[in-house]
């Protein structure tokens, strides 16, 4: 059996578990997947967080990707980190860098089993701050400097690829390597507040081709298998090239709800809660949703396409939030089938404002140029 078939049928525990600790955030990025801003009073307590770690350790989950919101805003963040490490659950956490002081950088550098990922969405302040807010580029790069100075080694710099920053791939790589870090690129999803800006910011068909070849030329750049839909352009990209939702990945949100992946925070993809009887283990192994996701895929409208084996129909979340059927082409299908489908798509699902403090406004590029 091929590895991808084996993985599609599910595992005893996830390979890659994303755990968002809080909806609170001191930024309001226009594309935030979880529509974060304000904390939710129902967020898991410290005791509940620790109990989840104990469960993950018992399931032998090797590591968790911690995010938010801004996870370091939780007062118990470092206690949780220590509990994970002591339980042999490795941690990679995503941060905007605002809470990384020189002392914290030294502490992180001296802890095994902890990796840090700092987010930027432009290789210069003007491009980045249009997405993430004024001053956020300087804050992020200052944090990178502190980690480098503390001797952290290869931390990660994570970028969501957009229409406006896709021309900066070489600049991102140079910036990242300047701090001794490793670049990670991921796909813009129409999830959370990303739904509001996706039409303006998702990469064009021509940009996708450039990105695909750039990724093939730079195999050490990490992608979290984000761009597997591009494998339909030819030679497959490195990685598993399958949708791992509910099969090898899932998400625990700040209130303990478990979703199929980090990009589908919607009731339709909620499998249960860590607060349910049986906890996370039972949700992962027995929930109706995850059981269904582990059934063999139907190629649906893609069945007659010669590239289906390469792209597997693309990203479930991207389809869902653009109103496309889940057994049809990805909205960014490299053969243009998604573009055609979007012309006659269903109404996009209502996502609401989530925990947003206020609706962030994307500054149009024409006004950004020259404004700095």
């Amino acid at each position: 059996m091929k590895v991808t078939d084996r993985l599609s049928r599910g595992l005893e525990a996830p390979i890659c578990l994303t755990w968002e600790l809080t909806y609170g955030c001191n930024l309001s990025c226009v594309h935030c997947l979880s529509s974060s801003g304000r904390r939710d009073p129902r967020e898991l307590t410290t005791d509940e967080l620790f109990a989840v770690v104990d469960e993950l350790a018992a399931m032998q989950v090797f590591y968790v990707n911690i995010g938010g919101g801004e996870p370091t805003l939780r007062p118990d963040f470092f206690a949780l980190l220590d509990h994970c490490v002591a339980s042999k659950v490795g941690v990679k956490f995503s941060t905007n860098g605002s809470r990384i002081t020189p002392a914290i950088a030294r502490r992180l550098a001296s802890t095994d089993y902890v990796d840090v990922q700092i987010s930027i969405d432009g290789a210069d302040a003007a491009t980045n701050d249009a997405i993430r807010g004024v001053g956020s580029f300087d804050v992020a790069t200052a944090a990178m400097r502190k980690l480098a100075d503390a001797g952290f080694g290869e931390f990660k710099v994570s970028v969501v690829v957009t229409r406006d920053n896709v021309e900066q791939l070489d600049d991102f790589l140079a910036l990242t390597e300047g701090y001794g870090a490793q670049l990670r690129l991921t796909r813009l999803r129409p999830s959370g507040r990303g739904a509001d800006v996706w039409d303006q910011l998702h990469v064009t068909a021509e940009q996708q081709r450039v990105l695909y070849h750039w990724l093939l030329d730079h195999p050490t750049v990490l992608t979290g298998d984000s761009f597997f839909h591009l494998s339909a352009l030819g030679e497959p990209l490195p990685g598993l090239n399958l949708c791992g939702a509910g099969r090898v990945v899932c998400l625990i949100d700040p209130v303990g709800d478990v979703y199929a992946c980090p990009f589908v925070l919607h009731d339709q993809f909620k499998a249960g809660s860590v607060r349910d009887a049986g906890g996370f283990t039972k949700v992962w192994r027995e929930s109706a949703l995850f059981t269904e996701l582990r059934e063999p895929d139907s190629a649906g409208a893609c069945a007659s396409c010669g590239s289906y084996d390469a792209c597997r129909g693309g990203c479930m979340a991207a389809k869902f939030f653009t109103g496309l059927p889940l057994d049809g082409p990805d909205p960014e299908c490299v053969h243009g089938h998604g573009e055609a489908a979007l012309l006659a798509a269903s109404a996009r699902p209502e996502t609401g404002s989530g925990h947003s403090r206020r609706a962030p406004v994307l500054v149009p590029l024409s006004r950004r140029v020259g404004a700095g």
């Binding site: 084996r6 595992l11 005893e12 390979i15 032998q60 090797f62 590591y63 490795g90 095994d112």
Partner: protein, 94 residues
């Protein structure tokens, strides 16, 4: 004489198809797609050499080469450490 042990930074998790091995240092994931191989990998550190680990796991003579080369690949991937190699190169002292 080849002598292996599970790398101290590797975690092994039993799965229906065999096991997953995760290296906490280089963060690489390796698939072990055979239950007998998983048995050998778990126990190889308790044996003085590979052959006695293969004996204990009941690997028949005709299949030895397959398992020897699988173990060598796992050593390259740092799932296993080659203790004989380490001792002779003096790495242990450093």
């Amino acid at each position: 004489m080849t002598r292996y042990a599970l790398h101290p930074q590797v975690g092994l998790r039993t799965e229906t198809f065999g096991a997953l091995a995760y290296h906490y240092g280089n963060r690489r994931l390796t698939f072990l797609n055979d239950d007998t191989l998983v048995t050998v990998v778990r126990s190889v550190g308790d044996h003085d050499d590979v052959e006695s680990a293969l004996d204990a796991a009941g690997v028949p003579a005709a299949r030895r080469d397959v398992y020897r080369s699988a173990l060598a690949r796992l050593a390259e991937a740092e799932v296993l450490v080659d203790l004989a190699g380490v001792e002779s190169s003096g790495d242990v002292a450093r």
